[in-house]
């Protein structure tokens, strides 16, 4: 049975697309699923370093489309999880080295041997984003509770719908409970109200994300922190499980049930 290809995108840069992609890939792989993550940020690859695979790259996605190697040769297997692979972006080519047709073909081939193909999209709404979306069956939109990120997310959601891949599901990243309490940050409810798409998860701001990036070991390998737990919860929701949202949402009475009702899962 063919797997699902999911693009992780945001419009705005710096909201945590790559971190989310790496951690969801690890979390899904830890749940026993076969996962390949694709970095489509040609010229600015980063998923390799977040996943701790940067020193083992021989071929990249552009080598694959140019016929320099077979797809399987370009895949890097995770040292801890044999069912987790990365297809790295090219660091030196320019973004036009890849076409929508290339992406569709690569995703099709990877879906045959994986349960999940996670596509890390570059920022922006141009060529790179269109490529990242081309081979996807569905989309996850990452935003932070900031005006600029929410505005970009709204635009991206519109573009995803125009491409017939909508409406996509939302991850709100880097929420700071203390700022929300002070009235200095949009809360989950506010963001959902603006964007009007299904909520897949909320990830609290967590310094451990930077520590894990330093080490090249995604946070999801351990379940010790709140952010790590959030990634595992999201992975289980992707698999169709109904997982309660973390307390940050429960602070507002009645909201949890409203958010739950957004899910179509049994």
């Amino acid at each position: 049975m063919a797997g699902r290809a999911i693009t992780i995108t945001s419009g705005k840069g710096g909201v945590g697309k790559t971190t989310v992609t790496a951690n969801l890939a690890v979390a899904l792989a830890l749940l026993g699923r076969r996962v390949t993550a694709i970095d489509t940020d040609i010229g600015l690859r980063n998923l390799d370093i977040i996943m701790g695979m940067e020193s083992r790259i021989i071929y990249d996605i552009v080598d694959v489309v140019e016929g320099q190697c077979h797809l399987l040769q370009a895949l890097i297997r995770d040292k801890r999880l044999p069912n987790l692979h990365l297809l790295p972006a090219a660091q030196t080519s320019d973004k036009t080295a890849l076409s929508r047709e290339d992406m569709i073909a690569i995703c099709q081939e990877l879906k045959a041997d994986n349960d999940f193909v996670l596509i890390d999209s570059p920022a922006g709404i141009e060529h790179g984003f269109q490529n990242a979306l081309a081979g996807a069956d569905e989309a996850i939109i990452v935003t932070t509770p900031e005006v600029s990120a929410v505005r970009s997310a709204d635009r991206i959601i519109g573009l995803i719908e125009m491409n017939g891949k909508g409406p996509g599901r939302l991850i709100i990243n880097r929420i700071k409970p203390a700022m929300v309490r002070r009235g200095d940050m949009l809360d989950t409810y506010d963001v959902i109200e603006f964007l009007a798409i299904e909520l897949l998860g909320v990830i609290p701001e967590d310094e451990a994300v930077i520590v894990s990036a330093n080490k090249g070991v995604p946070l999801a390998f351990e379940q010790s922190t709140q952010a790590s737990q959030a990634f595992h919860n999201i992975a289980r929701r992707i698999l169709g499980e109904t997982v309660p949202f973390m307390p940050i949402i429960e602070e507002r009475g009645g909201l949890l049930n409203r958010l739950r009702s957004l899910f179509r899962f049994p």
Partner: protein, 101 residues
């Protein structure tokens, strides 16, 4: 200090400001109508309406709203008095104060 001014309603929380700004910017983004075009439309509407009735310019409000996937242009135009339309004008009826699209 900040919290006191908030308690006495002297200043909004930054979240409230963020929500209001987002609300406006998303309406313009989604409709594709830039804020400046709204001013142009407003002036042209005033010109047309003023041919037939006297309007209170200061009280005119023209805004976009976005509900359930539909963008609408709302115009609230206070009328001071009904001016007799010029002889020969086909428009002898009182225009509605709220024009919607």
């Amino acid at each position: 200090m900040d919290i006191f001014s908030r308690l006495f309603g002297r200043s909004k929380t930054s979240k409230a400001i963020a929500k209001e700004r987002l609300r406006l910017v998303l309406i313009h983004d989604r409709s594709g109508i830039p804020p400046e075009l709204l001013n142009v439309i407003k002036n042209e509407i005033i010109t047309v309406i003023s041919k037939h009735v006297r309007v209170e310019r200061e009280g005119i409000q023209i805004r976009l709203s976005h509900t359930q996937g539909h963008t609408r242009l709302e115009a609230d135009i206070p009328i001071i008095s009904y001016r007799q339309a010029p002889i020969g004008s086909p428009l002898r009826t009182t225009p509605k104060t709220e024009a919607q699209r």
